[in-house]
């Protein structure tokens, strides 16, 4: 896991100092070593900060040059199947100087060119300078686990970097806020679902995309190299077959993600997704007599949100070493700028802070690689709200009895789970499903299919495919990419590498082919995962219904420790100029929240975060850096 910079400057020679400054804005991503290459004419430059994980020798440092001296690469991520690719390439006559996946990636590009992208199993963002063709190739992994941004500046300057802060260190790339993005954010429509960022001259390369630039920085080609197929459904697969295949793919994914020359641990929230991973890793590591470190954020004084008892259960069952942290409001306020500095754009939820504290905890215990459960909800339909769409889909397909039966099981189970918690609404919504009465009304009259106007890869938007459509949008556009941004930045702030077994593309392709009733069955969401999990975890975890999002008690914090701090930001003079900001409306939300009439913590945080970001922009953090 690393930080990369590629720079084309056709008109103005690249000053080595500027390339170094850009590179070192990413030191947190790659604290182990740094490299830099400038073409003789100083119009092309590559720079890299390295977090050494596979082949930690100097030989594997970057920028790395191909054997024939034609290609140079800077790369961030892991190619998990590098062992298999290396064998294949060696068979084709390619020799290697290192044990690194970087060299394998470079060789793959040399041998297979664009087609190599299809062969990569991993998370990656890379830039390759092809000396003979005088072109720069940039590519990003399938789901956008690893970030890559493209900045355009004056006089044809084109920069590519893992984080925008590196690009903004270049004086010819303006740090002007993008008014359209600000407006979308203000209207509550900010989803990070396209190329736009909060900076006018910087775009994010969408996941599963590659692009080619010529020496003048002109874009010559851009294409999507992988598109999931939500239309090919394997209706003939039996539950037993599905579970077996899922189990196999999941196990293989975890196994591949354990490839590392440094310590591997995991983030354990206590929920189903991360617990299953922890158990799977434990299986692998016990065989090697290794102890797994797990890292969790807990709120012992807030039992409604805390999952400490579930964590205890998993820890007891798997024998892992558990490390825990209790995030505090005070620290959030004092670290807010730093978190925003790393996130680079305002963010919609303060629960990011939990990830932040977990990443720091891992760094305190020298665990560099962290496997986590990101992606499971998007791939396997884990979000509670999806159940409603499933209900409608069943009605669409005329399966009224199934809809009623599923509803009964789902709602009864939630009702039982709800009894365990005070103020259960803070944890989950026990009434999220349509009631049986409501279903009767919906048999004749259902709402239209809800969908956004997205391009490639999404499932068709037709009755009976509502959940599939939303899942596909969430996976590819308006859900997962943003969550992956949060995860990457939080982990990288502390030089940690998050790996996500649920996003192995073979596993995802398989799940996309499953009929809906393998995702939600007998009132259980993520049914297929639970079936796989029950082989590894106690029933209390595998079949728990009291799911809680990764949530911080922001509602309470805003009423006590963060009250003044939040107020200063919410009602800062600069906010009046923000599109969509209605001071009376926000004042109303604030008063209701303070009075305990409602929980507006999400709505309020959106503005708090924007205010913080605005102030940072105004003070010049993006050009100057964070001191």
């Amino acid at each position: 896991m690393c930080g990369l910079v590629a720079l084309l400057s056709p008109a103005v020679r690249i000053d080595e100092a500027i390339l170094r400054t850009m590179r070192d804005r990413l030191t947190h991503r790659g604290p182990d070593s740094a490299g830099l290459w400038l073409a003789d004419h100083r119009r092309v430059g590559l720079a890299h900060r390295r977090l050494s994980i596979i082949d930690r020798s100097v030989a594997a440092d970057q920028p790395m040059l191909s054997l024939d001296g034609e290609l140079r690469i800077v790369y961030n991520g892991e190619i998990y199947n590098y062992v298999e690719l290396r064998t294949e390439l060696a068979r084709l006559g390619h020799s290697f100087r290192t044990r690194s996946d970087t060299e394998v990636l470079l060789a793959a590009w040399q041998v297979w060119g664009e087609a190599s992208l299809q062969r990569l199993n991993g998370m990656f963002a890379f830039a390759i300078w092809d000396q003979s063709r005088k072109q720069l190739i940039v590519a990003r992994d399938r789901f956008g686990e690893k970030p890559v941004f493209i900045g355009r500046g004056r006089h044809g300057v084109l920069g590519v970097a893992s984080e925008m802060k590196a690009l903004l260190a270049h004086h010819l790339i303006p740090s002007t806020a993008d008014s359209l993005s600000l407006a979308r954010y203000g209207e509550g429509l900010w989803r990070e679902d396209d190329e736009k960022t909060f900076f006018q001259n910087i775009e994010r390369l969408p996941p599963a995309h590659a692009v080619v630039f010529d020496e003048q920085g002109r874009e010559r080609k851009r294409w999507r190299y992988w598109t999931p197929d939500f239309g090919q459904i394997r209706w003939d697969i039996t539950p037993q077959e599905a579970v077996e295949e899922f189990d196999h793919l999941f196990s293989a994914s975890v196994s591949m993600r354990l490839r590392s020359d440094v310590a591997v641990g995991s983030s354990l929230s206590g929920g189903l997704d991360s617990s299953t991973i922890v158990a799977e890793i434990a299986k692998h590591q016990q065989a090697k007599n290794l102890t797994q470190n797990t890292f969790s954020a807990c709120f012992p004084e807030d039992p409604t949100l805390s999952e400490e008892s579930d964590i205890d259960t998993v820890v007891a069952h798997t024998g892992v070493q558990s490390w825990r942290v209790t995030p505090s409001a005070e620290l959030l306020s004092s670290e807010s700028r730093l978190i925003h500095w790393h996130q680079e754009e305002p963010f919609l939820s303060a629960s990011i802070y939990l990830q932040w504290t977990v990443a720091r905890l891992a760094s305190e215990h020298a665990t560099i690689v962290l496997l986590d459960g990101q992606g499971a909800d998007e791939v396997l339909g884990g979000y509670q709200s999806l159940f409603r769409l499933h209900q409608l889909d069943l009605l669409d397909r005329g399966k009224v009895d199934d809809a009623i039966a599923e509803t009964r099981l789902f709602s009864d189970r939630l009702a039982v789970a709800a009894r365990k918690f005070e103020e259960v609404d803070r944890r989950f919504n026990p009434n999220v499903a349509y009631s049986e009465e409501a279903l009767e009304g919906l048999i004749a009259n259902r709402p239209p299919v809800w969908s956004n106007d997205y391009g490639a890869g999404v499932a068709s938007s037709e009755p009976g495919s509502r959940m599939r459509r939303v899942l596909s949008e969430t996976l590819l556009y308006n859900g997962l990419p943003m969550l992956l941004r949060y995860a990457d930045r939080n982990a990288m702030a502390f030089g940690r590498e998050p790996r996500t077994p649920y996003l192995d593309h073979r596993l995802v392709d398989f799940c996309n082919q499953l009929p809906d009733h393998f995702l939600i069955r007998e009132g259980w969401q993520k049914w297929i995962l639970r079936k796989a999990a029950e082989r590894r975890l106690p029933e209390a975890i595998a079949w728990r219904a009291d799911k809680v999002g990764y949530a911080a008690p922001l509602d309470r914090w805003l009423r006590d420790s963060l009250r003044t701090w939040s107020e200063e930001r919410l009602f800062d003079r600069s906010m009046l100029e923000q599109p969509g900001f209605n001071i009376d409306e926000v004042q109303g939300l604030w008063s209701e929240h303070q009075a305990g009439i409602a929980n507006h913590s999400w709505a309020l945080w959106r503005w708090i975060s924007l205010s913080e970001w605005n102030e940072m922009s105004r003070c010049g953090y993006w050009r100057c850096g964070f001191y």
Binding site: D15, A17, G156
Partner: protein
């Protein structure tokens, strides 16, 4: 003999051409570009239509391409969006770090807005290369084309500093046809004798099977094809070689090419062409015979003798000087005759050697040297004759009550050889940014200076409308900046936006790259300055009591600054507290205070300082760089958490990690004040910007006070003190090194170094306000008639009284609405940060406030009566009151207003 080189005056050559670099390796501009590139980078600007592939694909206004020649870049220029392209090119030059271009113009037609913009920068030398006589009739050009070119040349030349002509005929024509006051010189084109010599080596020419004649040059409508046809018919035994860029559309050329004894070598590289030329028998210059040709000098003329070739040419004045090489012919028969005669000489080694000598004497290398000498001469001449420039200083008028700020600003008016104008550039003006932007046209001025009183460390301090004007100003822009450790990034962003050419900074050179990285400010030169200089006030010396009369050992006032300023800020306070304690322990007579309420202002301060044998001092500034305001926030946060926090605690918790790495410690203006009053300085160890030296000019005090007894001892030694203070006075004050006069002379020199052009305009001033010696303002702006013609210039010539009065009248009418708003402007401006009243006024006010309310009420009533001019008051008032009123009225207006302001 000129000892200077091109790099002394220029940092880039910008060639504005008609040519395609890739196709024109034998063009005049190509030769010059490649030679310049050995000294300076060359930007070879060509309109996009020159390169058809570029013309089709160019999407931006500029495209830069590297060439095979190190130091030369092609700049494809979209002349169709010339204004955008001009702005872009200026920005490009700046971002490449070029600030002193030599602009070499070939193309008079496609770069007008660019030339205007470059001209406005004031730092370019413009040279027009006249390759032909555009004023002479040309047979191959339509009347429209000829007159369009002539017009563009006329327009372009008006902006030039030098015109270089290819021949004397062209020079005469330009002199005759243009009203050009600058230098017009002839520098003929030469040949590549060096390259030819290398190619030929020791070889002797051997006649081929058939004699051959060669033409080398552009094959276009300037070639007389009819004449060539006839020659070729008359010389069937000869071969005819042509090389150069062809105009394929010419039918005569196509026919000519079809002759069996004609060979077209193409537009090949110099080596191939050279070889064929060497093998040839004679050279030919069969051009259209018109005035233009006669007055010109074909670019490749001296290429022929470089290969030992005699040349038969149509009459060309410049070649008549070398009849041994250039044989003149008009008709085909004459050409044949001359070719025969010339061919007889081709094999004669002496004649060939003579040809080589002629080529060497007329080589491009020699021509280039000649050109460089010319350019340097013109540049020096322009520098020597630079008239005063118009400079506008943008400042904050609300802080001029601080004497160092006032003196700094006023020093330019007093000492500069340039003409200074001042505009307040802060505060709230009752106008939109757009209106304000339009209200003052800064482009009138040659130089814009932003003064340090306009605090760029604040986001919205600088009035936006004026900032926009500064932003778009193409001329020299300068900034004086202080307190650069405060919100450094905000100031840097201002600098990036306003694009200063010179920044006078207090950051020492050692730390400059860290604070102002050169890659971020490629077009900005950072020069050192001090925060203040020796105070100018004339009567200051009267406060300097003789040393033997000074009973007070140490006099000092310092105060506790915000903890954010770190160790250096705290030292001002610490030195006071600690030395006071140490002195009191020894019962020494000192007057040291560190409370805010003990500060002394105005003349009282000088009186105090001049009455003590010594004062204390530390280096000023702060080594805590708070780039984004983060440190200030952290300090405030800690202070809120723990209101009684000490400096040491705060430093440990927050500030210490920001101390250094740039050492900003400088000499403060207070040091100059003390030296001027011959008060000895007891200073903490430090560098003090190199102005004063320990034990030479000041008594050093260790920061742990371990030598305090020694210091006290020295303060008891009056002879020592007299010697010390005399030396300091002599070295610092009398030397003039740190005087405002010397400072301004330095700034003037910096301007002169960067400003090549004469003033953009003469600014004629019409007086508006007179200032009486007592400070009273008298309106003197005339309201009509002859008063309008009251100016600081003798009227006459192009400035007649009717014009002046007319302009003033029109302005008065147009700005009536604006003038109505003037009181608002003043009050709003003042409301933002009113200048603190003088000390006497503040004391009087304090005294007034302690009076019981009933007394104040009575006095206010009396004051109101004093103001009242009604007759009824007169009749009812007591004699005492009437006397008071009479006395009051006898007071000067200024004093009356001040007294009244006490009660309001």
């Amino acid at each position: 003999m000129n000892n200077h080189s091109l790099t002394d005056y220029f940092d880039v050559v910008v060639m504005l051409t008609w040519s395609n670099w890739k196709a024109g390796s034998r063009s005049h501009c190509h030769h010059y570009a490649s030679r310049f590139a050995q000294h300076l980078p060359v930007l070879f600007v060509q309109p996009k239509f020159i390169d058809l592939q570029i013309a089709r694909t160019l999407r931006s206004s500029l495209l830069i391409e590297r060439t095979e020649l190190e130091g030369v870049e092609i700049c494809h220029y979209d002349h169709e969006q010339d204004r955008v392209a001009a702005v872009e090119l200026l920005s490009l030059l700046r971002n490449k770090g070029y600030s002193r271009p030599l602009v070499w113009m070939y193309n008079s037609r496609d770069f007008a807005p660019l030339v205007t913009s470059l001209k406005e920068t004031g730092n370019c030398l413009f040279l027009f290369q006249a390759l032909e006589d555009c004023f002479a009739p040309a047979n191959d050009l339509s009347v429209e084309s000829a007159s369009s070119i002539e017009e563009s040349v006329r327009r372009t030349c008006a902006d030039m500093d030098v015109i270089v002509c290819l021949s004397d005929t062209i020079r005469r024509s330009y002199k005759d046809n243009l009203d050009f006051k600058g230098c017009v010189a002839t520098i003929e084109s030469g040949g590549e004798s060096q390259a030819a010599a290398c190619l030929i080596g020791n070889r002797k020419w051997e006649p081929g099977k058939r004699p051959s004649a060669v033409y080398h040059g552009e094959i276009d409508s300037r070639v007389d094809f009819q004449l060539l046809h006839e020659i070729i018919h008359l010389m069937p035994d000869w071969d005819f070689l042509f090389c150069g860029k062809e105009d394929g559309t010419l039918s005569e050329w196509r026919i000519l090419k079809s002759h069996p004894n004609v060979e077209y070598l193409g537009d090949q590289s110099s080596v191939l062409v050279g070889e064929r030329m060497f093998q040839s028998t004679v050279g030919l210059l069969p051009l259209v015979q018109d005035e233009r040709t006669f007055g010109s000098l074909p670019f490749a003329s001296y290429e022929y003798p470089a290969y030992g070739l005699p040349v038969v040419t149509v009459p060309i004045e410049a070649l008549k000087r070398v009849p041994s090489t250039f044989f003149e012919a008009r008709t085909a028969a004459e050409f044949v005759q001359a070719a025969m005669e010339a061919s007889a000489l081709r094999a004669d080694p002496d004649v060939v050697d003579a040809q080589y000598a002629i080529a060497e004497k007329n080589s491009n290398d020699r021509r280039f040297d000649e050109t460089v000498r010319l350019i340097l001469g013109v540049r020096q001449m322009l520098a020597a004759s630079q008239p005063p420039l118009n400079v506008v200083m943008l400042y904050d008028d609300r802080y001029t009550y601080i004497s160092t700020i006032h003196e700094h600003l006023d020093s330019f008016r007093k000492y500069s050889k340039n003409i200074f104008h001042y505009v307040p550039a802060t505060g709230v003006w009752p106008a939109s940014d757009d209106t304000l932007q339009a209200a003052i046209d800064l482009s009138l001025f040659d130089v814009v200076i932003v003064h340090y009183s306009v605090r760029l460390c604040l986001y919205d301090y600088f009035t936006e409308g004026l900032a926009r004007q500064v932003e778009k100003h193409n001329g020299l822009k300068m900034l004086f900046i202080q307190d650069e450790y405060e919100r450094t990034e905000t100031a840097r962003r201002w600098m990036e936006r306003l694009q200063f050419h010179i920044v006078y900074t207090c950051v020492p050179e050692s730390g400059r790259e860290l604070i102002y990285p050169s890659h971020r400010f490629p077009g900005t030169e950072f020069l050192s300055t001090l925060t203040g200089y020796v105070p100018e006030t004339g009567y200051l010396d009267q406060f300097a009591t003789p040393i033997e009369d000074r009973a007070l050992l140490i006099g000092y006032r310092g105060r506790e600054l915000s903890y954010i300023f770190g160790d250096l800020g705290y030292e001002k306070y610490r030195i006071g507290v600690d030395v006071k304690r140490l002195a009191e322990e020894k019962f020494l007579p000192v007057d040291i205070e560190t409370g805010d309420d003990k500060r002394i202002y105005g003349d009282d301060w000088y009186r105090f300082l001049g009455s003590a044998r010594a004062t204390l001092g530390t280096e000023s500034g702060s080594n805590v760089f708070d780039y984004t305001g983060e440190v200030a926030k952290a300090v405030t946060r800690e202070k809120t958490k723990q209101p009684g926090i000490t400096f040491a605690e705060m430093h440990q918790k927050v500030v210490h990690k920001y101390e250094g790495p740039v050492q900003m410690n400088q000499v403060s203006p207070k040091i100059f004040e003390a030296i001027r009053l011959r008060t000895a300085l007891v200073l903490f160890d430090g560098e003090y910007s190199g102005v004063v030296q320990p034990d030479v000019h000041f008594i050093p005090l260790r920061k742990d006070y371990s030598n305090i007894d020694e210091v006290f001892g020295k303060l008891d030694d009056l002879d020592y003190l007299a010697r010390l203070t005399d030396r300091a006075y002599r070295d610092v004050i009398e030397s003039g090194l740190y005087s405002y006069r010397r400072f301004v002379e330095g700034v003037d020199a910096d301007i002169a170094k960067r400003q090549m052009s004469p003033p953009r305009m003469e600014i004629v001033c019409v007086p508006a306000i007179g200032r009486l010696p007592d400070g009273t303002n008298v309106p003197i702006l005339s309201r009509c008639g002859v008063g309008f013609a009251l100016t600081n210039r003798v009227l006459g010539g192009s400035l007649q009284r009717e014009q002046v009065t007319g302009i003033i009248r029109d302005i008065a009418i147009a700005s009536d609405g604006v003038l109505q708003q003037m009181p608002e402007v003043i009050s709003e401006t003042t409301a933002v940060a009113p200048a603190p009243p003088r000390l006497t006024l503040r004391i009087a006010r304090r005294f007034w406030r302690v009076l019981p309310t009933f007394i104040r009420t009575r006095l206010i009533n009396k004051a109101h009566k004093l103001l009242n001019h009604g007759s009824n008051v007169q009749s009812t008032s007591s004699p005492g009151f009437r006397l008071m009123r009479l006395t009051f009225r006898a007071l000067p207006v200024r004093m009356r207003s001040k007294l009244l302001s006490l009660f309001t």
